[in-house]
């Protein structure tokens, strides 16, 4: 990335209280997203990827608290008042959800939903401009003007999701977070939506964080990818680099367990992701890691930089001087029972 990033996340923590204890859903995450860039965020369910996406926008669950920095436009979104945040959401920060039907008002025509959104955030616009902007954005998503006055239920699932994306884009946000935007769609429609999202960078110059559990989606639609495990980023880099040669064993195992048309044999990761109340000490992946060493449960891995602005948190990548004597010998441990799986 050459230009200054649209958003810079540094040491972000999102914790929330439950009856069983404090859940550290996001635990010290740093990342940047540039204008016109698509960053994929992948991980298993419960790894904190959705909480991270919402945490960046300051949307926290009840009883949650966040620490660290989310720098957007020279201001820190962490600790910003709800009133100021609300002003940014929409015209600056957008969010696309998984299930479009729950987010569109079923009693409002598409036209009225766009009108309401635009009038709320850009009160100066004339009715003509509102219509023009709405039709233009909908058109880019392939929604014809002839259907502008219809209600959400009159559209198919894929069209609703495109309307949702248009509703976020009509405000021309600089940062857009899409949380599993295609998970409830069929594979052909999913590919259509991914194509639209991948084209965003050309048409809108938006910085996009695409949250997904599907590595295939990342490979096809993202410039860079960040892999998340148990509240932390374990590896980040250009999607092509990371997929061609994963640097973290978790990335490698996740790739191997993805069932695709090229899959020759089935593979799965033993065990299950840890609960985030009492995560394992040291590297959180060590109980499931086939390459774990003696050092892994004792010290938290430090960030290591590889070529092409790639970073990884794994003792296999060093630094050697930080590993205590004997730390590189294989970790001895008990067999993981099937019953422990996810």
């Amino acid at each position: 990335m050459t230009a200054a990033p649209v958003v810079s996340v540094r040491g972000l923590r999102v914790y929330y209280g439950t009856l069983r204890g404090t859940v550290r859903a996001v635990d010290g995450v740093s990342l940047d997203i540039g204008a016109g860039e698509v960053l994929g965020l992948v991980g298993e369910s419960g790894c904190g990827k959705s909480t991270l996406g919402r945490g960046i926008l300051g949307l926290l669950p009840d009883g949650a608290a966040s620490k660290g920095d989310v720098i957007y436009g020279g201001r820190n979104l962490v600790g910003m008042s709800e009133k100021d945040l609300r002003r940014l959401r929409g015209p600056d920060l957008g969010l696309i959800f998984q299930e479009p039907m729950t987010r569109l008002d079923p009693l409002m025509r598409i036209e009225d939903q766009f009108q309401e959104t635009l009038e709320q955030h850009e009160p100066g616009l004339s009715a003509r401009e509102v219509r023009k902007r709405s039709l233009e954005t909908l058109g880019r998503m392939g929604i014809p003007p002839t259907r502008f006055r219809q209600y959400p239920h009159e559209f198919s699932g894929g069209m609703r999701q495109r309307i949702m994306i248009a509703l976020a884009l009509v405000l021309r946000p600089k940062l857009l977070i899409a949380d599993e935007p295609t998970t409830s769609l069929d594979v052909i429609v999913e590919a259509q939506i991914l194509r639209i999202l991948a084209d965003l960078r050309r048409n809108f110059d938006t910085a996009l964080l695409l949250i997904t559990h599907n590595l295939g989606i990342v490979a096809e639609a993202c410039d860079r990818v960040a892999v998340m495990y148990a509240g932390k980023i374990v590896e980040e880099g250009l999607a092509g680099d990371v997929f061609a040669e994963p640097a973290h064993p978790y990335t490698r195992e996740l790739l191997r367990s993805t069932i695709s048309l090229d899959t020759k044999e089935l593979h799965s990761i033993p065990g299950a992701p840890p609960n985030l109340i009492t995560p394992p000490p040291g590297c959180r992946f060590h109980p499931r890691c086939p390459d774990a060493m003696a050092v892994c449960p004792t010290k938290e891995p430090v960030e290591q930089h590889l070529a092409h602005e790639r970073r990884v948190f794994c003792w296999l990548r060093g630094p050697e001087q930080a590993i205590p004597a004997g730390g590189t010998s294989p970790l001895e441990r008990e067999e993981i029972a099937v019953a422990e799986e996810a």
């Binding site: 929604i143 997929f243 367990s257």
Partner: protein, 470 residues
């Protein structure tokens, strides 16, 4: 390793499969749509959805058949009809020598011991108020099998079989204490506890994390070997089906459009829909980018299916006989307008009076022009749309465009319904493989009026390419 029965291709010929465990012939499952209150008062229904529309197939003993399609394809309804959970409208389902269609509930219940089902959502499949022991043992209780001690022992054994061991640890738990993968194992335990011969698995891994899917699929393969099970694997995911299935049936809008051995389907897909499905699967390969040549649109409303071949509006290879009609013209216009600036759209739209005449499905439409607009102007627009993209398959279906003073009268060619045709060892329902349909198309092309001369569209030839030349 158990041997698969030798299957003579994907054909559902009645004689070939005396060994078939399930034999489905001409099966139709229609749902009626309830109309308005007034319509119901006068005893009229608003129509019906042909969820399963004339399906014939065999499921051999010990076979894994993948039933693949998008939502709305009817794959789940087919599975449910086969289990007797949904009444068939017409046709026959013979399971293990017994006709299921029309069977009384009591007799069905007895048969259901032999056929079990695993649903997609393990969270919704288990009663949250029942312990795992109660849930898994419930079928034994319903069928009054064994004493409570014997049931308990059977539950423990079964939990052990599906990998939930030590069983004592899991029997006392509630579904909320289990992870997604563990819940799906419990659901599978409940499905196999009665020693069924057939398991219908409806998207059993779709809601699970990638890291667990393989384990559940492996478990299902192990169980198949150990208990001699036959599977109907219902899924939208061609990637897991490739790994799991001996044969694949591709469903679209109630019909099986292609069926054959897995290898043939994946190495040499014939139906344009099968090809599209395979192309759309996201692959974790950094060299691949999102495909651009995807079918447009989505699965249409099954209550008002397209004429001719249901897939034709989305098919890049469709031609004269595939069923072009009024609604396709509306789609064509709308897609054009979606990408125009507002002024241009307003100007073109003003040439038309009411375009909703195109909403009723027909091969004839009289499009009135807007106030004071001559018919020639509207015909001119249609002509220039065609000239901009002469290879658009839609135009092959237009038979005649007649210009009137204040209207344009359009006639499309009569649609042909695709027939199942054998190609190699697969059976495919597509005009591209049907010599009669291709001949008919060629004949119509020659007869074509000067209004419909279409440039740029190649003449389709029979696609019966020899094996392996894809």
């Amino acid at each position: 390793m158990q041997r698969k029965p030798e299957l003579a291709g994907g054909h559902a010929s009645p004689s070939a499969h005396d060994s078939a465990l399930v034999s489905i012939r001409g099966l139709k499952t229609y749902y009626s749509i309830r109309g308005s209150f007034a319509q119901r008062l006068i005893g009229r229904e608003a129509g019906h959805v042909k969820a399963v529309d004339d399906v014939s197939l065999d499921l051999g003993r010990g076979e894994v058949l993948g039933l693949v399609g998008e939502s709305g394809s009817g794959k789940t309804t087919l599975g449910r009809t086969l289990l007797g959970l949904v009444p068939a409208t017409e046709g026959s389902v013979v399971f293990d020598g017994r006709e299921i269609v029309g069977l009384r509930d009591r007799d069905l219940r007895e048969l259901r011991r032999k056929m079990q089902v695993v649903f997609q959502d393990p969270h919704a499949s288990l009663n949250p108020a029942m312990t795992i022991e109660q849930s898994v043992g419930h079928p034994l209780e319903i069928h009054k099998i064994g004493t409570s001690d014997e049931r308990r022992r059977r539950v423990a054994e079964t939990l052990d079989t599906v990998g939930l061991s030590p069983p004592e640890q899991f029997m006392v738990k509630y579904p909320s204490d289990l992870s997604g993968g563990q819940k799906q194992r419990a659901v599978i335990a409940r499905a196999i506890i009665l020693n069924p011969v057939l398991l219908v698995a409806d998207e059993p891994v779709s809601m699970l994390d990638m890291s667990v899917r393989a384990k559940i699929l492996e478990l299902m393969l192990e169980l198949k070997r150990e208990f001699d099970l036959t599977y109907l694997y219902i899924t939208h995911d061609l990637a897991t089906a490739k790994f799991f299935c001996d044969r694949i049936a591709i469903m679209y809008l109630g019909r099986i459009v292609e069926i054959g051995p897995s290898r043939a389907i994946y190495e040499n897909p014939r139906h344009p829909y099968t090809k599209a499905l395979l192309r759309a699967i996201p692959e974790p390969d950094p060299r691949r980018k999102v495909p651009r040549d995807l079918p447009r649109g989505e699965v249409p409303d099954a209550a008002r299916p397209p004429l001719g071949c249901s897939f034709h509006p989305r098919c890049g290879q469709a031609f004269e006989v595939c069923g072009w009609e009024t609604r396709d013209l509306r789609d064509l216009l709308e897609q054009r307008w979606a990408h125009q600036v507002e002024e241009q759209y307003e100007a073109e739209r003003a040439l038309f009076d009411d375009i909703s005449v195109l909403d009723s499905s027909a091969v004839h439409a009289r499009l009135r022009t807007g106030r004071g607009i001559p018919g020639a102007a509207l015909a001119g627009l249609l002509g220039s749309i065609r000239d901009e993209n002469p290879s658009e398959p839609f135009w092959t279906g237009v038979e005649q465009v007649a210009t009137e003073t204040d209207a344009v009268d359009i006639r499309w060619r009569e649609p042909l319904s695709p027939r199942a045709t054998g190609v190699g060892d697969v059976q495919v329902e597509c005009h591209l493989y049907d010599d009669a349909a291709l001949e008919e198309a060629a004949r119509r092309r020659e007869e074509g009026s000067p209004h419909t001369t279409v440039g740029g569209t190649g003449t389709p030839t029979r696609q019966g390419a020899p094996e392996g030349s894809a």
